[in-house]
């Protein structure tokens, strides 16, 4: 089944990109889940969509070749900083920042899309992911993002863990909680922008959370949960990409369904363990 993925360049880049996001999405997802920030991932993916729509519009209407992936990334990172600003404005209602940013993202996307008189197939690819969309350039950019994200997480692992477990205690002990949190949100924005090519806007947060939900049932401790999440993420991406390609289904759908199956198995195993 695999040969096609090695024979055709575009498929090989898709496959390699998939392997990268199978690591970085659950890696950050672990922190996102334990900090109960899953909705931020959703908000940011919709802002990324606005950025992508902007890039496609600029290309079609004005002939500006920004590259939708770059404009998507720029919007995502800006959106992440805005969310943090809004959270400090609405101190007592921090969750308000999420619907505000999410709806702005959707609103802007609709405007950009209609200005460009629609761009159906491209947009469909961005919503649900695509196996044929990754160019060599895309791959190199996503590789850069992945290396950067992994380096930062390794370097700041103890701070990120301490902050996630108990933010107040982290602050008291003298950590720069606000700055570390901002760094973390920007990393999340980058990972989302990098993942959208393959899993699509609507399903990117699933790849960040479902493998974590599964490993949470089985792991002992935080580090183990993180490693298990990455393993589940990789399994989902590999099986999802291959089956999506051969069944002609956007990979976003197949990847998420594989993660759901893994999740169900994890819940089942836990049940069995309790009974034994």
């Amino acid at each position: 089944m695999l040969p096609d993925f090695f024979q055709y360049d575009f498929l090989r880049y898709t496959f390699l990109t998939g392997l990268l996001i199978g690591v970085i999405a659950p890696l950050l997802g672990t922190f996102i889940v334990v900090r109960r920030l899953s909705l931020i991932a959703d908000a940011l993916s919709h802002v990324t969509l606005a950025g992508i729509a902007f890039g496609l519009m600029a290309e079609k209407k004005f002939g500006l070749m920004i590259g939708p992936l770059y404009s998507g990334m720029a919007f995502s990172v800006l959106g992440s900083i805005l969310i943090e600003k809004l959270r400090s404005v609405y101190k007592a209602f921090q969750e308000l920042a999420i619907p505000i940013i999410l709806s702005s993202g959707v609103g802007l996307s609709v405007i950009f899309i209609s200005v460009a008189d629609g761009f159906n197939t491209d947009l469909f690819n961005y919503l649900f992911g695509s196996v044929s969309a990754v160019s060599q350039n895309d791959f190199l950019m996503i590789l850069t993002i992945a290396i950067f994200v992994i380096l930062v997480v390794v370097l700041f692992y103890k701070e990120l863990f301490t902050l996630s477990f108990d933010e107040e205690h982290a602050t008291i002990s003298g950590l720069h909680s606000k700055q570390i949190h901002l760094l973390f949100i920007v990393l999340t924005a980058l990972v989302i922008a990098a993942s959208i090519r393959i899993v699509g806007v609507l399903l990117v947060s699933a790849l960040m959370t479902l493998p974590v939900a599964a490993s949470m049932r089985l792991a002992k401790g935080f580090k183990q949960m993180m490693l298990l999440s990455i393993l589940f993420g990789e399994l989902s991406v590999i099986i999802g990409l291959i089956s999506g390609y051969y069944l002609s289904i956007p990979p976003g759908g197949t990847i998420v369904m594989v993660s759901i199956i893994i999740l169900l198995i994890a819940i089942g195993i836990k049940r069995l363990k309790i009974r034994v």
């Binding site: 334990v34 301490t162 477990f165 108990d166 602050t171 003298g174 949470m216 002992k220 935080f222 949960m225």
Partner: protein, 251 residues
């Protein structure tokens, strides 16, 4: 010269317009085991947040080991066990070891990793609170009393001189509260830690504390445990603003 662990001079604090602390003056001498009592809403947690630097006083000054509390460089001189510790997210998937290690994060500093010495320190802190057998268990699987011990270990691991505890025994059964006080007593006696403890179990606390303050917006009492226990119900009712029945503990 030995400086007091905490010195508060004329400290006032208000949330929006509601004054919670009004011209507080007091000292926690080095080596003291100070108990803080007072009614709910009396400002005890606010006082602690001021000492920890989470809030800034509207008026007055706070010194920690003779350093301005707002600019305190070495935050690791203070260990903290929170009121909320026993209400933390029980599902959080972390082992006892991982939780205690988070108490060292700031001490180690950015861009550095845990080494063998740090690992030994972490295990030693877990051992001190008698939980070594559980080092690699998920913290969510432990009882409330055991979890509270882990949070003490997290405070101890950076070897602070002053340990602040905000109602650490809420929701813990009587037997474990006793063991908990024994642990505090050891830290105070054997390791010369300065302790500042907010609590409602005055009966047990007065057996171990060296100083007691009563806080309800202002300081109503500051003295030795013997003086506190000799207060009449009438005196206490005045602090609390409602009638108080002294429950005697005969051991």
């Amino acid at each position: 010269m030995e400086y007091p662990a905490v010195t508060m001079k004329n400290v006032s604090y208000a949330y929006e317009n509601k004054t919670v602390l009004d011209h507080i003056n007091f000292e926690v001498p080095k080596g003291a085991f100070m108990g803080v009592v007072g009614p709910n809403g009396g400002g005890k947690t606010t006082l602690i947040k001021l000492i920890l630097g989470l809030l800034k006083p509207d008026k007055g000054s706070i010194n920690i080991f003779n350093e301005n509390g707002e600019k305190l460089q070495d935050r690791n001189k203070i260990g903290f066990v929170s009121q909320k510790a026993n209400a933390f997210n029980k599902g959080f998937p972390a082992t006892v070891y991982e939780v205690v290690s988070s108490g060292l994060t700031a001490t180690i500093g950015y861009f550095k990793f845990f080494n063998k010495t740090h690992k030994d320190k972490i295990l030693h802190a877990i051992d001190q609170v008698g939980m070594l057998d559980y080092a690699y268990e998920n913290i969510g699987n432990l009882s409330g009393g055991q979890q509270q011990r882990i949070f003490i270990a997290r405070a101890l691991v950076s070897d602070p001189e002053l340990i602040i505890l905000d109602e650490p025994t809420v929701g813990i059964d009587y037997e474990n509260v006793k063991r908990f006080y024994e642990l505090l007593h050891q830290l105070h006696q054997k390791q010369n830690k300065t302790l500042l403890l907010v609590t409602h179990d005055t009966g047990t606390m007065t057996e171990y504390a060296t100083d007691i303050v009563c806080l309800n917006k202002t300081l109503h009492f500051h003295g030795k445990p013997e003086e506190y226990t000799s207060l009449t119900e009438k005196d206490l009712s005045q602090f609390y603003g409602h009638p108080v029945n002294i429950v005697s503990h005969n051991h």
